[in-house]
């Protein structure tokens, strides 16, 4: 552990606890400090990596002999005219090109992955395999049919369709319960990972605990003295 490592650990732990201070329930200057630090440095990072991408893909590509990529640089510069009040229409051409290409990239495979393959995976043999496989396949097939019925808004649901939609609704609630639990596990894992990062290696543990205590104490003091709102930036 060098003095630099110690400073980095202190800054990281303090800013992280400042970010958690939003859980106190009130806006605070501590949260604002963490938020603006993240936005500022994060935006700077994104600028750097994107400029590097333009350089490596565009400029180096042109130098390697792929002259067509000059068009990419020119179109990219045209996009920047979007902010000019008088010449913003110039940006429409590169936007149109990027939109068309992006839509084609997504559509040419989404039809299969998001639609046909999903339907194909549902239409499986329902009477082959062991007991568990048969149970799973029947449940999935029935769930998909009943749930899709629930989303029919263009016709009036009556008779068997209404029953199907009602069963689908109950099945969706069961699905929501399971998905909610999985989502909680995912978010808890993020939180646990965060705390692990702040507490590893072991010499960071006292820094973490001290940061927690200091930030909580500051929050309470600022709240009691009425400075919490006064020092928080306006939205």
């Amino acid at each position: 552990m060098t003095p630099l490592d110690l400073i980095i650990a202190i800054v990281a732990a303090f800013l992280s606890m400042c970010m958690f201070s939003t859980l106190y329930g009130k806006s605070s200057p501590l949260y604002a400090l963490a938020e603006e630090s993240y936005i500022g440095f994060g935006t700077g990072l994104t600028v750097v990596v994107n400029v590097l991408y333009i350089y490596r893909t565009g400029i180096l590509g042109i130098k390697a002999g792929n002259w067509v990529l000059i068009l990419g640089i020119i179109l990219g510069i045209m996009v920047l005219f979007r902010v000019h009040p008088k010449y913003d229409y110039i940006a429409r051409l590169p936007i149109a090109i990027a939109l068309g290409a992006g839509f084609a990239l997504a559509l040419r495979t989404t039809i299969f992955t998001g639609f046909l393959d999903q339907i194909r995976a549902t239409i499986v043999p329902l009477f082959s395999g062991d007991a568990q496989t048969i149970l799973y396949r029947w449940t999935i097939a029935l769930c998909v049919i009943f749930m899709l019925t629930f989303f029919l808004y263009t016709i009036e649901l009556k008779g068997p369709l209404k029953w199907s939609a009602t069963i689908g609704e109950y099945m969706m609630y069961i699905a929501f319960g399971a998905i909610f639990a999985q989502t909680f596990m995912g978010r808890l894992a993020l939180f646990v990972g965060t705390m692990q990062y702040l507490a590893t290696p072991p010499w960071k543990k006292p820094i973490l605990v001290a940061s927690m205590v200091i930030v909580l104490a500051l929050l309470i003091v600022l709240d009691k003295t009425g400075l919490l709102e006064r020092w928080t930036p306006e939205e």
Binding site: L69, Y89, R108, Y136
Partner: protein, 213 residues
Amino acid sequence: MSAFFRSREAMLIVMVISFLIVFIPYFFNVPALEEFSTTWITIAAIVNAFTLVLAVYSQFRRGIYFIRTGKRAWGFKLWMLIGIILMIIFATMGMEKGPYSWAMQAIITPLSSVNYGILAFYLSSTCARAFRARNLKAFALLVAGFIVLFYQAPLTGAIIPGIEPVARYFTETFAMAFARVFAISVTLGAIVFGIRVLLGKEPMVLGFTREER
């Protein structure tokens, strides 16, 4: 020249041509077409990278407005702008070691993870409020959620192995079926929206204002 850029029809034609350049070669094995399509995709990727500059410009504009009008605690906005500039300067000094690496370890890395870690707290309080057996549907939600939560605790799976088949039944049938229904619905919606854009029914996407429509 400006008439070309202002023309809605011209931009639609450009968009459709761009679409076809990327869409059609995927289904035919013609190397020359594929190579041209790949280059076109790379050009689109470079254009996308340039759009980031617009986002940074917006940040700067908003921040300077805050500072100039002297809004409450404007110092934080100034710090944000300083952060953007500092990070760019740090990157030019070297990305392997030095201030760039320090800023990554001290600010970006921990705050990035905290940003999402906070959601665990919101979900936990939502669990306590939403998982109440108000009626039969809520009871179904509660039972499924309770069993899956119980199973997900690693200790439970180790000491009560019998819970695994029940929890997996909920997650691999009901949850998966809903995921499929969701994927089908979203895909259909996205395809319909994309076709509407290509047919010119959504001109706002190309930056045409209501008046120009």
